[in-house]
């Protein structure tokens, strides 16, 4: 039976994927680049997928899904990828299909589901999430944006930051404080509101690597309908915990980064040349490159060891794994720095043109990679975790 489903999906994709889309590039916002014919073909493709319920294939049909199992949904995405295309709807929906939607399915009322889910599943409505604030990053529960009920409306005031895609979204899921008198996690609620209104201002954040999807979002008496509260009043922390689980889930399913990149030593030979005996002309770079490759091998062997140990039921796995965030950062940032050094003056270009596409991209990746030692628990936080949780050293004191 599974085979029947697979072949019917393959047939459908073959019959419905517009030819004009072949080779078209679709960006992280689900936007296609090309002439009008390509754009029209792309919209036709989106509508056909939406009609099938394949924008959010595991959702119920009544909300725009197709009632598929996870396994069947994978068959669909594989078939589309095999045909050389992609499903743009999860990208067009922003945080809708991947995070807000699944949470709505669990916590939403019938009215909320019917109102919001179909727009996500068809890719017609893009959603963003207002979570972090300037003073509530890792410590999200410290958030300060407040919402007060004014008749049939909530009035929101405050500032969110790192709101990905806020300037392009029609709707926002926001975490707000609705009770200041209780412990910080107990006074938080999750509201849904339209972005196109006078009370909301968005400002894109330019990063050191250039443009980014991130925005600052300001609420000044921004309005949300009273019945667009998701979950119970002041129980927003449960809602967000579930939503963040969906976020991790979607990240785990994300495709691995490209492994086809040119090895550093090959790039070094290409840029710098070799001596008669095949060694790099820059002997200092050569030994640092060897060091880096060995550190990389040690990191990879550690991952392999943890996986083997985990299969053997070894309890020390999590202790060893605690070093991986920092060693992965060392390897990635070390790689970028060496690549920049290898490119020399060609590794200083901001835009392609005089510099190759690859050179400019490498420079942007180097800059973007500086975030690795900051997000997800900074490099220093990781060392605190190792010294306290793994090595059992006591809480930090200020002396010494």
């Amino acid at each position: 039976m599974a085979g029947d489903f697979e072949s019917s999906v393959r047939d459908w994709v073959a019959a419905n994927l517009p030819e004009a889309l072949a080779g078209a590039r679709i960006d992280m916002y689900g936007v296609v680049s090309g002439d009008q014919a390509v754009k029209d073909a792309f919209d036709l493709w989106r509508q056909r997928l939406a009609a099938q319920g394949w924008g959010a294939p595991t959702w119920p049909r009544e909300y725009g899904g197709a009632d598929l199992t996870d396994a069947q949904a994978k068959v669909v995405s594989r078939a589309i990828a095999k045909a050389g295309s992609m499903n743009p709807i999860p990208y067009l929906a922003g945080m809708g299909v991947t995070m807000v939607g699944p949470t709505l399915l669990e916590y939403g009322t019938e009215v909320q589901k019917a109102r919001h889910l179909p727009g996500m599943a068809s890719g017609a409505v893009r959603w963003c999430l207002g979570l972090s604030e300037p003073n509530a990053g890792s410590d999200l529960a410290s958030l300060n944006t407040r919402a007060e009920l004014d008749g049939e409306e909530w009035l929101l005031n405050g500032q969110k930051t790192w709101t990905s895609g806020a300037d392009k979204s029609q709707w926002c899921g926001a975490l707000v404080r609705t009770d200041r008198t209780v412990a910080k996690r107990n006074g938080i609620s999750f509201l849904m509101l339209e972005m196109d209104q006078p009370g909301i201002d968005t400002r894109p954040i330019s990063l050191i690597a250039g443009e980014s999807p991130f925005c600052e979002t300001f609420f000044t008496n921004a309005k949300a309908r009273k019945d667009d509260l998701l979950g119970e009043l002041n129980d927003g922390w449960s809602v967000i915990k579930r939503l963040l689980q969906h976020e991790r889930q979607s990240q785990t399913n994300a495709p691995a980064t490209s492994t086809t990149a040119e090895p550093l030593q090959d790039a070094a030979k290409r840029y710098l040349g070799t001596n008669a005996d095949g060694t790099l002309t820059d002997s200092d770079l050569r030994s640092r490159l060897a060091d880096h490759l060995m550190d990389t091998a040690a990191h990879e062997l550690t991952i392999a060891r943890i996986m083997t140990d985990a299969r053997g039921g070894n309890v020390e796995v999590s202790a060893t794994a605690s070093i991986l965030k920092n060693s992965a950062t060392d390897v990635a940032q070390g790689h970028s720095e060496l690549m920049l050094e290898i490119m020399g003056n060609q590794g200083l270009g901001w835009e392609a043109g005089e510099y190759s596409e690859e050179e400019a991209r490498t420079v942007r990746q180097w800059l973007g990679g500086k975030a690795m030692s900051i997000y997800g628990g900074s490099y220093e936080v990781q060392k605190n975790i190792i010294s306290k949780n793994i090595l059992g050293l006591p809480e930090t004191t200020q002396k010494g």
Binding site: A290, T302, K383, N384, L393
Partner: protein
């Protein structure tokens, strides 16, 4: 830890308990103070032989157990933890590997049983200068009617004074620096014309310089075919590098444990010093190095057992990574212990001194970084 078989777990636990009970660092200290120049305590070595450790790599037909390099490495790691002095590494790993890889049946029959029962100590005599440079072998082996005449010098020969036999790298043709022209010989230590001079190394172990003056050996002393032994020598050396990396891992892990223990107990400024973030972060960095070193050492030991193609890369990787860990850790051991770490009564100095000797053995980090780059094609 790698996923071990029941037998490997048993041997590792046995070794761990035995070194702490029978051959702790205090007994190495006593050996140093009471028997200067003595390589190891014969009674201790006999116990290791009785437990079967000397035959772990040797096939069963010669009395060994053929349990492989990972098992041998598990024991060496435990010995490294307590600086236990013995010929286990030099003879039972390096000597046995040389015989098994390069020797013929007659040579196997003549010496492998002796390695297993501890009566023979077979040591590799390779280095000739202050650097590990196998292809720069210069010791002259001049062919005669019935064999070879050996002239030249070997130095930094481990268990050099205690050895009963040497596996000797010599040059039968070509010039120093050529890979071609290197031959291996198996030479009894009491052969006429060999003068051995003990080296007073910082780690108080048995190292010697050997002077060869018209030493005559028969053709049967050749280990392998004459002139093209460089590649088998590298195979032997890779096993030695990986084995010594296992010992180094143990030495560094013990230094880590001693330091961590001190961080948790030493009080200054009204607090346990491990509560200072500057020290906690250094401990975290050492922990990270320790875990990555273990990954490399275990992968290398397993690769030898599996006869994998990448043994040379893994040998240099393991020696280099654990070398970095041991270097940093032996320095931190002294620094974090402060003044007490500088006293001879405390063990930190024993670990630091041993660490530098191990680093220099079978190629230091600079050697293996260069070799790794060459193996990786740049």
């Amino acid at each position: 830890m790698a996923v071990l078989t029941e037998e490997q777990t048993l041997i590792k636990d046995q070794a761990s308990a035995w070194v702490i009970d029978k051959a702790p660092v205090s007994s190495f200290r006593a050996l140093r103070d009471l028997n200067p120049g003595k390589a190891f305590l014969p009674a201790t070595w006999q116990q290791m032989v009785d437990m079967g450790w000397s035959g772990i790599l040797v096939p069963e037909q010669y009395g060994g157990s053929d349990l492989g390099y990972l098992t041998c490495g598990l024991i060496l790691e435990q010995l490294g933890r307590q600086l236990t002095a013995s010929p286990l590494f030099s003879s039972s790993l390096v000597g046995a590997s040389a015989l098994m890889l390069a020797g013929n049946t007659a040579q196997h029959e003549a010496l492998l049983p002796g390695i297993v029962d501890g009566s023979a100590i077979v040591s590799l005599a390779l280095d000739e200068s202050s650097r590990h440079q196998p292809e720069h072998t210069a010791l002259q082996a001049e062919q005669t009617d019935d064999g070879y005449n050996l002239n030249g010098k070997k130095t930094f020969v481990a268990e050099g004074m205690a050895a009963t036999h040497y596996v000797l790298a010599a040059r039968t043709s070509g010039k120093p620096g050529d890979a071609q022209g290197i031959s291996l010989f198996l030479v009894p230590a009491d052969t006429d014309g060999i003068e051995r001079i003990a080296l007073p190394t910082i780690d108080s172990r048995d190292y010697a310089t050997l002077c060869f003056t018209n030493v005559h050996v028969n053709s049967t002393a050749l280990l392998g075919s004459p002139g093209d032994s460089m590649s088998v020598l590298e195979d032997i050396l890779d096993r030695a590098r990986i084995g010594i990396a296992a010992e180094m891992l143990g030495t560094a892990c013990q230094a880590f444990d001693m330091t961590l223990d001190y961080l948790k107990t030493r009080q200054q400024f009204g607090a346990v010093i491990g509560s200072f973030q500057a020290l906690g972060h250094r401990a975290a960095a050492m922990y990270s190095l320790m875990e990555q070193s273990r990954s490399c050492v275990e992968a290398a030991l397993q690769a030898v057992d599996a006869s994998a193609d990448n043994v040379p890369e893994l040998a240099s990787l393991a020696k280099c990574q654990v070398g970095k860990f041991l270097f940093e850790m032996s320095n931190e051991l002294i620094q974090i212990h402060g003044g007490i770490g500088m006293t001879d009564d405390f063990d930190a100095g024993l670990y630091l001194k041993r660490a530098r000797v191990l680093e220099s053995s079978f190629g230091n980090r600079a050697y293996h970084r260069n070799r790794y780059a060459t193996l990786m094609g740049f």
